[in-house]
């Protein structure tokens, strides 16, 4: 480097001591908070539990029973089949729609009200429509999960494209980039992080959609188990299912976040 000394001397990673302190904070305080939460649940369950609520230990006990009998596994498989289909279709359609309306503003002005409607419309009120359109089988459940996932993926993808600096588009144009090359070299890399965070949020939405549809529309799988717990006044069944779903959500979203982190790091955009 031959010019001014004011220029930074390369990139310095975070000092190791700080990384260690961050990790300690995360696990120590995070773990402590978790323990407090579980203790509070246990205490409230024991003092106020009954037909509608129960303690942590009874819930875990029931969870073990349900897993051993295979009932949890079967319910889990049934529910997640719809979740997987609904998520993949919703995410794919959402990314495509977001990319198109993010790039072609005229189309966006036409479609925006419908997108907003999809975001705010109460699903419960729309269930009759879905039943009449898709029956009460797998298709209906997939459709509901689709409508849970789709809007949030669209909104994030579109936001990603909006973050594209017009200078980059102009720059690519000045080197003669075609529309296809522009997408490949500028638009998609620029929107990538936002698309990934849309997919992460979409994962969470897919899981809640999965349970909502089974509670309100088609009583199968995990939703049916929750309903059974309520109907039989055995709250430990319901809470065992909720534990499983929450655990699944943490795992899946953590997985997507890891992929996200890997992609961002490869693109040189640290968190």
């Amino acid at each position: 480097m031959r010019s001014a000394s004011a220029e930074p001397a390369g990139f310095r990673p975070a000092p190791r001591a700080r990384v260690r302190r961050d990790l300690r904070e995360r696990y120590l305080f995070g773990g402590l908070f978790f323990v407090v939460l579980i203790l509070a649940w246990e205490w409230y369950g024991r003092t106020h539990g009954g037909l509608l609520f129960t303690s942590f230990t009874r819930t875990v006990g029931e969870l073990v029973v349900l897993i051993r009998s295979g009932e949890m596994g079967r319910a889990f498989a049934v529910s997640n089949q719809a979740m997987l289909l609904g998520f993949t279709t919703g995410a794919a359609a959402g990314v495509l729609t977001g990319l198109v309306i993010g790039r072609y503003r005229r189309l966006e002005r036409i479609l925006d009200p419908y997108l907003n409607m999809m975001i705010v419309a109460p699903m419960a009120a729309l269930i009759p429509v879905i039943i009449s359109a898709a029956g009460i089988g797998l298709g209906a459940r997939v459709l509901v999960i689709f409508t849970f996932v789709f809007p949030i993926v669209v909104v994030n993808t579109r936001a990603g494209l909006r973050s594209v600096d017009p200078d980059w588009i102009e720059m690519a144009g000045s080197f003669g980039a075609t529309e296809l090359e522009l997408w490949r070299r500028v638009l998609l890399p620029a929107a990538g992080p936002a698309i990934l965070s849309g997919l992460r949020l979409g994962t969470g939405r897919a899981l809640s959609g999965m349970i909502v549809v089974e509670l309100l529309l088609v009583a199968v799988g995990l939703g049916k188990l929750i309903l059974a717990g309520i109907g039989l006044f055995r709250p430990e069944i319901s809470y065992a299912v909720i534990l499983v779903v929450v655990f699944e959500a943490i795992l899946l979203m953590g997985l997507v976040r890891r992929i996200e982190g890997g992609v961002l790091a490869r693109m040189g955009i640290g968190e």
Binding site: E7, G10, F11, F175, G176, R185, M267
Partner: protein, 262 residues
């Protein structure tokens, strides 16, 4: 009669109107702009903001089409961006997710130059601009001056005959700007090119250009074309030459008038 030097860029009656005549939101950015730019000449467009100098640069670059008139390069009308021209942008326009190396090779990659060849060219430019050791850094890890060196290297990588520079140093601090001006001049000394340089700095125009095109604002048109009385490379301490001081004075008087006129 001596043969005139080849006229490389001809700007013929270029007008640019933005907006919609229907709702009256019309902005006349350029009005019947005419100019001949010679090969290997350094032309500076100087004018107050809003005089359409950037618009004109983009028209020459083929990024936008004029409402009227046209630009010819070696007798062929410009219909779009293409080989032979490269733009250096005011805000660098570097891709933040790409390394210095990948940013520099951006244009070469689009032209289908093989990996080995384009990286060799990039490394040559990295050495030219003193960016050694930063090939795998990201733009955000560099200072503004180094970022614009990358922007320059990216433009030069495609070996353009015409370099179009849109206020390339205006986002930099004074010292860094001087440094880059010197580097640019040294570079043009080794590899002469036609340069069209947009600036609002009188000093920069005088320091760099062979001819300064002073532009009227709204709509932009040629007010005056001024020959800079210093050759390239500039004589040492030419800023102390009375002609330099006089030139800056004249430019200031002309610019002041325009700014007050608005």
């Amino acid at each position: 009669m001596n043969a005139a030097p080849p006229r490389l860029i001809s700007i013929r009656g270029v007008s640019m109107v933005y907006g919609d005549a229907a709702d009256g939101s019309v902005v006349r950015a350029l009005d019947d702009f005419n100019l001949e730019i010679r090969s290997k000449e350094f032309i500076a467009f100087l004018g107050p903001s809003g005089c359409g100098k950037t618009t004109l640069l983009k028209i020459i670059g083929g990024l936008i089409a004029p409402t009227d008139g046209h630009v010819e390069i070696d007798g062929r009308p410009v219909t779009g961006p293409g080989d032979g021209r490269a733009i250096v942008f005011q805000n660098f326009a570097l891709l933040p997710w790409a390394t210095v190396l990948a940013n520099i090779t951006f244009g070469l990659e689009l032209r289908g130059v093989g990996k080995e060849e384009r990286e060799a060219e990039a490394h040559r430019l990295i050495r030219t601009f003193g960016l050694e050791g930063f090939a795998h850094s990201y733009p955000r890890q560099l200072s503004g001056g180094m970022q614009q060196r990358v922007g320059l290297a990216r433009a030069l990588a495609v070996n353009p005959e015409i370099l179009l520079m849109d206020e390339p140093f205006s986002a930099l601090d004074a010292q860094t700007r001087r440094m880059l001006q010197e580097e640019l001049l040294a570079l043009l000394d080794r590899e002469p090119k036609t340069v069209v340089f947009v600036t609002h700095s009188m000093d920069e125009a005088v320091r760099l250009a062979d001819r300064i095109v002073l532009m009227n604002p709204r709509p932009g048109s040629v007010k005056e074309i001024i020959e800079v009385p210093f050759g390239h490379p500039r004589p040492g301490q030419f800023e102390k030459d009375p002609r330099y001081i006089e030139l800056i004075d004249d430019l200031w008087e002309a610019l002041k008038e325009m700014v007050w006129d608005r």
